[in-house]
Subunit: 223 residues, 2 copies
Amino acid sequence: MKAAALLGGPKANWPQNLKEKLASYDLKFGVDRGSLLLSELGIKPDVAVGDFDSLRSAELAQIEKVVSDIRYSNPIKDFTDTELMLRAALLDYNVSSLAIYGFSGGRIDHFLSNMLMLLDKQVSTWASKVKLIDRQNLITYLLPGKNTLQPLREYQYFAVYCLTKTKKLSIKGARYDLQDYSTEKPRIFASNEFKNNSPCQISFKQGQVMIIYSKDIDRYLNA
Amino acid sequence: MKAAALLGGPKANWPQNLKEKLASYDLKFGVDRGSLLLSELGIKPDVAVGDFDSLRSAELAQIEKVVSDIRYSNPIKDFTDTELMLRAALLDYNVSSLAIYGFSGGRIDHFLSNMLMLLDKQVSTWASKVKLIDRQNLITYLLPGKNTLQPLREYQYFAVYCLTKTKKLSIKGARYDLQDYSTEKPRIFASNEFKNNSPCQISFKQGQVMIIYSKDIDRYLNA
């Protein structure tokens, strides 16, 4: 079962045709204001998670009328709303993959929290099931060992981001290769490219590594 | 001498009244497409840095006509364009502070590169002179030791982001305090608030800590 979640980030950062993209998933999660945004797109959230404190009472009532699984979070809490959604999706609904939209372009503390949540020990084993997608970027996570990275037609670049202490990171078969790189601090290798549109190999012994596929946007559309 | 720099991120993420804000600085740096964006705002860049490969030749010619200090970067390089600008500002121009705009809302690998550049040993000693400002966020860096964090009227929240291994982080006098927290991995404490609009104390023994002031934006403006 493939799932998608919509968070409350600004629409300006959504990918193109988000409504059509969302319609193709088996299960839709709304996170806080994302539940309302789904409804506004004409998509019924299957699950809504949040404290909903940014919604007007009539808007919340509307969500409560149509959504069968609502999970109210406590504003002062151990888990963020997005973490609660992630746990619901992966533990309770046992989804095979989860695409997260609406995560960028707004509060940077929210973005960084969401980026780091997959460092959590329990959650990190699921990391390879999760993607974050916005207008210019697609983020995935890799587990230690050997990984094959596939080119994605829409994106010209990829970056390799060592979130934590990382041992023996190698990139093979890309435009810029790397051999047995280790670091104590976070480090990013940005603007790499696939060679001849072929997959490349990314391996590391220890650490948590995020891949950011990205593209430039024509500046005349970029207002 | 107070300086500002404009990077090439989307205008949708600029703070309000950026033109008026920029006009108040003594020295303006344009980074790559940011040089063109400054010109379009009617502001002459004092310094332009970049490979300018996203500009049309007529646009670059216009920049070259009006800007007296242009620094051409090599697309395959050790330093990113933003790092070159940072070095020019802090080493060559010896600015007392540097406000960076246009850093968010576009490619996430660019954002993360810019966020991490202040981890560099040489650069990190300057980190407290640098601010990154967009529509909803203001980012500053702290050095180890005792720091007083001032409330800023425009922002309701602040987050404390441990970029690296951090020892004995304490927050005192805020809504959510913290005592002697240590971590091996990056960690963020988001959505904290000032108490009675009073400063709070943030101290740590070792590590690199970023502060993100942030605010929510009314969702009806948030399209």
